[in-house]
Symmetry: C2
Subunit: 114 residues, 2 copies
């Protein structure tokens, strides 16, 4: 019975880690991300809805994709006149925070046109 309790505790601990690891803000701080996003809002909106047709909507975007996009702009692998300048001063933590914030904005998708 003692062995079972230990095993159950391990399972519970692992489950908690997995859930934590897959949550939207696992690698980033949503609140800090929102603060940093003030510099993004002219084009992308603080709510992640683009203000310009050339800029993508970011609300509810996948966190992995957002991190990659920002890091690709920072490394030069991806280029855009505005973004290449903007990302220059972002740390890895800033990138994680920004991605966590925009990914955490709830989005509901309606029925696709047939």
């Amino acid at each position: 019975m003692h062995g079972f309790r230990i095993a159950a505790s391990i399972v519970a601990a692992c489950a908690a880690v997995v859930i934590g690891g897959s949550s939207a803000d696992a690698a980033g701080d949503v609140k800090a991300g929102r603060q940093k996003a003030l510099q993004c809002q002219t084009c992308h909106g603080l709510d992640g809805q683009a203000k310009l047709p050339e800029a993508p909507n970011l609300a509810g975007q996948t966190q992995v994709y957002l991190v990659k996009a920002l890091k690709d702009y920072r490394s030069g692998a991806r280029r855009n006149d505005m973004m290449s300048v903007i990302v220059h001063g972002l740390t890895d933590q800033d990138v994680d925070n920004l991605a966590a914030y925009y990914a955490a904005i709830p989005v509901t998708v309606g029925e696709s046109p047939k």
Copy 2:
């Protein structure tokens, strides 16, 4: 009065062009786009909700951005192992249709985290 009527007609015609040019499906056929999107659904979902964390959600994305993304992958300005292969056979019309389809999926954005 006759001159005024002509002027009014010109204004009305121009307004119609502007409105037409900014509508979601102006440059693309949504129905044809949906058909073409069958080859995108494994990663991006037919409803534009990504099936993989590495793939971006496309539902309700701005049409201008989607057209640019696809054309950038096609020209090589933007690279991704999967996308660079997928876009190879897309015509300009396919690109417009795909962008029109994904842009036309309705999205409702909830309150941003504070």
